[in-house]
Subunit: 150 residues, 2 copies
DNA sequence: ATTTGTGCAAATCGTTTGCATCTGA
DNA sequence: TCAGATGCAAACGATTTGCACAAAT
């Protein structure tokens, strides 16, 4: 699938596959999008907020504004590359895993963790009200640290 | 409609039970709390945002500031009279039903609906990561209007 | 060259807080 | 009385938007 081709933007050969990913999604592979997509998809499944992604971009010396990070995350979501995860009223998380799966949420730490695909099952889905259809079922298992342990 | 906000001395069934509710929860039954609690608990299970509750209070000519509505909702939640429902990243809903149950969420309309208690079942709960315990499991069934119907 | 994306700062939205004033037990 | 509650407005954090400029095709 991905060929590490000659690349003038640093040691990461993943960038050309990222370009294809973006093109396939109908998004122009601009410098910023490629850089952000690399950060997002290079290290497996991630749950990230705009702010954190922006910080990472800074660390990797990718000059992007926070506004562009927000825009980009939404574009990626619209293109099906990301999925929004709602676990908390005040912050939005984006999940690089777009498959059907559910989440743990550690409220103390604001951390989102994937639940392995087969360890939760929702059965007997309720009948939606008339004129409505189910678009998705989200399960959030809320966790807290057990006091007195580490 | 009823005129719950008049200060007559007659027996007000709903109002006095609301006072007891508040007292039982360790909250002083102030004018505003009684009024808000009446609005919240008088008509069965509700899913309400601070803004909507504030509007209702205005309609019923209960002078409360939006800040007090927020404070009150959180106090009620802390006292176990309400439950916060997280279905949407941008708004907080409060549920007058504190029993274990789950929700439909109509994304087009920002409406929260209770799912009847037995029509969803989550089984095979996942093992939490070490040092963590499950505090709650939330299921949100997202709905959308079927286009071309009413 | 044209179209599309970006950066910045200012604007917006929901929510919280500080503080002077009021009120219920 | 007097701790506790309220109102207002200002503060806040997360997200969005408007517009001049820059980059990709």
């Amino acid at each position: 699938m991905d060929h590490a081709e000659t690349n003038d933007h640093g040691p990461e050969g993943a960038k050309s596959s990222v370009r294809n990913l973006l093109k396939g999604a109908g998004l122009r592979p601009t410098r910023q999008r490629v850089a952000l997509a690399s950060l997002l998809f290079a290290r497996g499944n991630r749950h990230i907020s705009a702010e954190i992604l922006h910080e990472e971009a800074m660390i990797h010396r990718v000059p992007v504004s926070l506004a562009t990070v927000y825009n980009t995350l939404h574009q990626f979501t619209g293109a099906g590359l990301l999925r929004e995860v709602v676990v908390d009223g005040s912050k939005t998380y984006f999940d690089t895993n777009t498959d059907d799966h559910h989440h743990f949420y550690v409220e103390d730490d604001n951390v989102v963790i994937d639940i392995p695909p087969d360890s939760v099952t929702v059965d007997a889905l309720p009948t939606p009200p008339p004129g409505m259809e189910i678009t998705r079922v989200d399960v959030v298992v809320r966790l807290r640290r057990i006091p007195g342990r580490n």
